[in-house]
Subunit: 209 residues, 2 copies
């Protein structure tokens, strides 16, 4: 399992979502082509990705939707819910807390940290979250047993905050700051760089005209 | 230029940001190792990526920071600003409009579309944006000459809205809905799938313990 390519790991959540959709319309068996069509890829890719997880399908029949979903869910470690904190509770941070996709997948927001916790007004929809000062970030992260941090601070302080997050025992960061973070090897970072995404789209637009 | 690998295209905005940072501290020449260290990659990768753009550096010296930045900027089509609209103006959409990284890079929000435009209250910070009903989405997108759409609708309507966006002459979509969109080949989609990103982090956490 440790030799799973990064690209394969990144596609597993997509397959899981497809299987869940297939189940919701009553499908009990699905083949690689069916998954591929839902996932926007090709059947060979699906078979290759899933082959890393062991012998799962039946030749000529396909995969059992329920047990494949369960297996992927196990591989992704989704059987237990994960404790998540947001560091930098500005507009983006507050929008992310409200994003329904996190809840649905067993990610629990246990706290938000901000340099100025007083400026945070009530969240919409009657939701509440424990907003704390960043003064005791490291010890609070340990106390709250936070496993994943969404980093939404301004770019200038992102590296410093990321080091403090790592010092708080957190091994997984989703980084929204447009900065490449330098962290110990046992901290996994996934960047979500929105301006870069638009620049990639711009590249394609420039080629079209 | 049309044979640039997707992975290379995705790294060009990162290199551009590194060059801008290097320039801001007074550097006029930089070598591949310097760029690699800032970008969190290795020198061979940087040289390979940049080799697609032509003969740019001087062996034993490095790259001219200013002209390399300008060249990458040209390749990414950033010399002209791009007209952007948001389709689905809920909390995430409103947070994205306020995200400073877009403005800085020459992306102009010209309109937002929502099924219920009346529910949109004023934006913070005295900003305003033209909020329109989705009833005339296709014709409005054409009229406003929108080039890029940020799709932040609920998942259930994302595919339908994406087809209407494509019918409005838009060839580039940044898709925040957790759905794989099926669109004509001349529409480029970049997915930003936040729940999947957390699931990838969860995979790594599960391997660590």
């Amino acid at each position: 399992m440790d030799r799973l390519p990064e690209q394969t790991i990144a596609r597993l959540p997509v397959y899981l979502r497809c299987l869940s959709q297939a189940r919701s319309i009553g499908m009990r068996v699905i083949n690689s082509l069916g998954i591929a069509q839902m996932a926007g890829t090709n059947a060979a890719q699906v078979r290759k990705d899933l082959s890393y997880l062991g012998e799962l399908g039946t030749r000529g029949v396909g995969y059992d939707v329920g047990s494949l979903a369960e297996h992927i869910s196990d591989v992704l470690g989704l059987e237990t819910s994960r404790r998540v904190a947001i560091v930098g509770f500005g507009r983006l941070g507050r929008a992310l807390v409200m994003y329904p996709g996190f809840d649905e997948h067993g990610f629990d927001f246990v706290a938000a940290f901000d340099a100025d916790p007083a400026r945070v007004r009530a969240l919409p929809g009657g939701r509440s979250i424990d907003v704390r000062s960043i003064d005791n970030l490291e010890t609070d992260l340990v106390k709250l047993r936070v496993e994943i941090v969404l980093l939404t601070t301004p770019a200038q302080v992102a590296q410093e905050m990321a080091l403090r997050v790592a010092a708080g025992g957190v091994h997984a960061i989703l980084n929204f700051a447009p900065v490449v973070l330098e962290l110990p090897a046992d901290v996994k970072v996934r960047p979500v760089d929105l301006a870069s995404e638009l620049q990639v789209l711009s590249f394609h637009l420039a080629r079209m005209t």
